[in-house]
Structure formats: C-alpha cells, structure tokens
C-alpha cells in the first residue's frame, strides 16, 4: 500500500514568527509537504502558480495585498485556510468558501481539524478566484485601487489614476497614464466598483474618468466624441452624452 500523495502547503504571513509556529505544527504531519513560505501577497500570488500548492494558510492583514486580494488574483484552484489575529473577517471568509478560519494564537488541534477538512472535502472545488469576485459584499465601495495580474506580476492602479476603461469581451482594458492593462472582469462589474461621481459610462463599451475629459466635440451628424487631456478620443453614445451633461 503506497502512502497517499502529501498535501502541498504554502504558508503566507508577513510575520516570520507566525509562519514559524505554523511550520512547527504542520511539519509533524507526515501527510503534509510545506512547499514554500511567503512574506507578502505578491510572493504568494507567484508562489501559488510556481509551487502547485494545494492548500494555503493565508494571513488576512498583510502589506500591499491583503489575503482577500491575493485570492482574487489567483489563477488556480487552491484550498484556503485563513489565519488572522482578530475575528472581524469571518463572514467574508465564509463567503469565499474558505475551508477554515483560524484565530491567532493558533492551536495544533485547530490546525489538525483544518487539515482533516481539506482531506475530506478535497482540494477541488469552484475556483476560489471566481468566488471572491462574486462574493465581496462587505468590500468597501467605491474601491480606491485596482489589482491587475500580469503573469506572475501584480500591478496596483489607484482608481484616481485610471483614465478610462474599454470592454473587450470577458476582459476590460484599463488605461492609466499612457499604459494599458488587461483584467478579467466585465465593464459593468468594474463600473459598479468605482465611484459613480468620478467614472461615467459614456458608451456601452467605455467607462471614463470625468476629470480627464478636456472637451466634447461634434463628430458626425448627430454624434459627438469626448476628447481627453492627452488627446484620446472616446465615443459618446446618445445616452452617454446625456449622462455627461447631467454630471457637469
């Protein structure tokens, strides 16, 4: 009888001591292989792809990217156990289908319980990243920054730095300071996340930061375009023009 494949576990916490105690407990379980440790969210996003981890022990409060933002950027299915100091994210953790939610200081029994749940449930399940995107009810809106994944890199775009966004099938093309980024998200969803005072839907496929609009010009008969400060021309639909006028 061969031993079952060990669980590939990744530890993500910005505090070395917090990782140390998890490592101590987990290393006593022969069915667990610790494939990496990450001190921040960027490392975690990359490591999940590179190490083919099955299970994440994930701290919530971390610099740059918090635990929920890390999940949002993952491209693989992975089981998640949240580990946090203070019980204020439990509902949100439950909504993203976390396997377990542990409070610091963590006991060995709780770690054992979490591992048992993972083994029972299996690591397969709905892709966590989709679930996060679907269930973010207590995320403060409007959001003040956007996260875009580019291979193993993560770009952070401040909402105020976003010039405009264009719908491209299942993606949005984000334009900011002359650069553009492709993000897996619908324009409707993005519009709902952003501040409606600042971002206006000028067209079915265009969402524009009103502060960037320099002028509105007639284009063809009965139609107009918006010209941004950098010269970019943005189509204006009839209703889009009405929304812009309402705004100013």
């Amino acid at each position: 009888m061969s031993a079952p494949t060990p669980l590939r576990v990744l530890l993500v916490d910005d505090e070395e001591l917090a990782r140390r105690v998890l490592r101590e407990y987990l290393s006593r379980d022969p069915g667990v292989e610790i494939v990496g440790e990450c001190a921040n969210g960027f490392e975690a996003v990359r490591a999940v792809s590179e190490t083919k981890a099955d299970l994440l022990f994930l701290d919530i409060q971390m610099p740059k990217l918090d635990g929920f933002e890390v999940l949002e950027l993952l491209d693989r299915d992975v089981a998640v156990v949240f580990v946090t100091a203070f019980d204020e994210h439990a509902i949100r953790a439950f909504e993203v289908h976390a396997v377990d939610y542990l409070l610091k200081p963590v006991s060995e029994e709780k770690i054992g319980r979490a591992l048992a749940r993972v083994r029972e449930r299996g690591v397969a399940g709905p892709p966590v990243s989709r679930l996060v995107a679907d269930a973010k009810p207590d995320q403060p809106r409007p959001i003040d920054r956007l996260l875009v994944r580019d291979g193993t890199r993560v770009h952070v775009i401040q909402a105020s730095e976003l010039d405009y966004a264009v719908a491209r099938d299942d993606y949005v093309e984000l334009h900011s300071g002359g650069k553009d980024f492709l993000k897996h998200q619908t324009l409707n969803d993005l519009e709902a996340q952003l501040d409606p005072e600042r971002f206006v839907r000028t067209h079915r496929s265009y969402l524009v930061n009103v502060e960037r609009i320099a002028k509105i010009e007639p284009y063809a008969k009965d139609s107009r375009i918006a010209v941004l400060h950098d010269g970019t021309q943005i189509p204006l639909s009839r209703s889009g023009y009405a929304r812009i006028r309402e705004h100013s």
Binding site: E15, L17, V21, K64, F86, K104, P105, V106, D144, R145
Partner: protein, 353 residues
C-alpha cells in the same frame, strides 16, 4: 473679609464712585436744610466716607441670610435690625466728625444743626443700608450662577477626558493576539525570548492601566511606555521595525496627559510598518522650546496603500483630548508625504513639578 476690601484697586474704584454721592449730599444739605455751603460739603464728605464703609457691612447679613433660605419673618427681622444698627453707627460716627469740624471757630453751631437733622438722616441711613443689601444679593446671585456655569463646564471637560481615557485604555486586540501568537511561536524555538516577551507585554499592559488613572505624567514616562510597546512589536516585526529616538533632556520632565502619544505610536506601527514590505524607522522626537513642548512621531508608509478602515480614529481622539485639555493652546498636525507620515504635537510645556 468683603471682596472689595481685599483688593486695593477695587476699593479705590468703589470709593471713587461715592464722590458724586457726596457732592449730591452736600447740595441737598445746603438747599433742603439750609446748612451753609462750605459746612454742608464738609459734613457730606465725612458722612459719605463713613456711609461707604457702613454699606459694605450689609455683605455680612446678606451672606448669612441667603435669599432662598429661612422664612420671610426671620429675613425681614434680620435686615430691619441690621438697618437700624447700621444707620445708628453711621450717625454716631457722623456726630464725631461734626464735633471735629466744630473745633474750628468758623463752624460754630455745626453740631446743633447736625442734631436737628438726625431724624431725616436716620431714614437716609436705613435706605442706604437696604439698597446696599439689595445690591449685595444681586451680586451673590450672579456669582452663584457664574460658579454653577463654571462647575458644569468643568464637569463636561472631566467627563470627556474620562471617556477618552477609557477609550485609550482599551488594548488594540490585534496587538494583543498577534503578540500572544509570537509568544506561542517562540515557546518551543526560543523559550528565553518567549519569557522576555511575556514580561515586556505584562509590563506594558500594567503601565497602561496605571498611567491612565493619573492626571499628568512626565513626558519621560510616556516615552518609556511607547518604547516598551515598540519592544513588543519589534519581536513581531523583526528587522522590519526600527526605532529612533531624538529627545532633548529638557523635555523629559514636562507634564503631559497620560497615553497622549501612545495612539500615535500604535498608528505608526499599524498603518506604517505593518503596511510596508520592507518596514522602516519609527522616529520619536521631543524638544522643549521655552514654554512650548514639541513632540513628533514619524513612520514610513506605503504610497499605494488602500484607505484602511479605522484610520484616523486614533488621530481624532488625540486631537479631541488636546482640544478638551488645552483649547486653542495646543495643536496637532498630520503631514502625509509620499512614503512617510509625520504627526506633530505642539502643546504648553507646563510647570515642571
């Protein structure tokens, strides 16, 4: 003693206000009682001077007999008796004054003329006494309401201060649980450090409880508390947290409200160090500049950081406490740079005890 008598400047003002009375009194004696003009003014000068002091005596019965106190009969009787006595004393002293005047051969007969005016003067004396008593009651009532107002204001300030202190004494749960987690991690790998951290943590919690109960503490104690806190956090954050202290010796004894700095230092860790990948240096600076005390706390910050819930609460509490305790005498400035954050306090340095 009567408040007017206890202050020379008030007494001078009070007596000066009697000069027109003396003048009117002299004219009245001359016109109504046909006293020769010079003699009428001399009489009036002495009588008014004595009257000014006799009127002040109304303060004692007025204080002893509060207007909302005992029954009406007792009240009236007290003042009637006091009026008779005051007027009598006044006229007796007046008689002595006139006798003094009569020594001058030019003013023969002044005594006799004075004696003939006694019944009228007696009534005038009683009237003045009653007027003085009424004015004293007015002043007492005004002082009492001013006192009540002051008291209400003080109570309000005390209540707000107590509220803020209570708020402050609440230990940040993140700090507590994360520290316990660090201790738990150290227990097997580095028991000596675990024990040291237990002691540091206990020390910090104990000081927070004790200091919060005092009115003012020397800045040195507040800084010790902050440094104890940072030692605990240093175990948690390792090399990400560095601390720099630039404190003038002269500032150490300045009294400050307890736990004034603590929220700023906690913010520096929570919104600064904990939000940056590399961490950085928290710098605490303090100096005394004449009668002013300047304290500042600076920390690194993530320029791309998200707006964090709860940010600003600690700062608002500190600003609120400063406003309650010092009014416009103290100020708080928070300056957000690209990758650093600085909070500056400027408050009265206070008397060094």
């Amino acid at each position: 003693m009567h408040p007017i008598l206890s202050r020379p400047s008030w007494l001078a003002l009070y007596l000066a206000s009697w000069i027109p009375v003396a003048a009117l009194f002299g004219i009245a004696l001359h016109v109504l009682a046909q006293v020769p003009l010079a003699e009428a003014f001399a009489d009036a000068a002495g009588l008014t001077a004595v009257l000014a002091f006799v009127c002040l005596s109304a303060w004692y019965p007025s204080r002893a007999q509060p207007i909302a106190g005992a029954g009406t009969m007792g009240f009236l009787l007290t003042h009637a008796v006091a009026a008779v006595i005051s007027s009598g004393v006044w006229l007796a002293l007046g008689r002595a004054w006139v006798a003094l005047l009569e020594r001058d051969p030019g003013w023969q007969g002044a005594g006799a003329r004075y004696n003939s005016l006694l019944p009228g003067l007696f009534l005038v004396g009683m009237l003045f006494y009653l007027l003085a008593a009424a004015l004293h009651y007015l002043a007492l009532v005004a002082a009492k309401s001013r006192q009540a107002e002051q008291k209400a204001l003080e109570l309000l300030v005390q209540a707000r201060e107590a509220e803020l202190k209570a708020l402050r004494a609440q230990i940040d749960p993140h700090f507590l649980f994360n520290s316990l987690n660090s201790i738990s991690a150290l227990t097997s790998s580095d028991p000596a450090s675990a024990r040291r951290m237990c002691i540091e943590l206990a020390e910090f919690l104990r000081r927070t409880l004790v200091l919060g109960q005092r009115e003012r503490i020397p800045l040195a104690e507040e800084l010790d508390l902050a440094e104890g806190y940072l030692r605990v956090e240093q175990v948690r954050f390792g090399s990400r947290l560095r601390v720099e202290r630039e404190v003038d010796e002269t500032a150490l004894a300045s009294p400050v409200p307890p736990l004034l700095l603590q929220p700023l230092v906690e913010n520096a860790v929570r919104h600064g160090i904990a939000q940056t990948l590399e961490g950085g240096t928290i710098k605490i600076a303090a100096k005394r500049d004449g009668s002013r005390l300047h304290v500042s706390v600076s920390n690194p910050r993530d320029p791309d950081g998200r707006a964090r819930p709860g940010a600003g609460v600690g700062l608002r509490n500190v600003a609120g406490r400063l406003a309650t305790l010092f009014g416009t005498e103290a100020r708080l400035d928070a300056i957000a740079g690209g990758d650093s954050y600085l909070v500056e306090l400027d408050l009265p340095a206070g008397e060094v005890s």
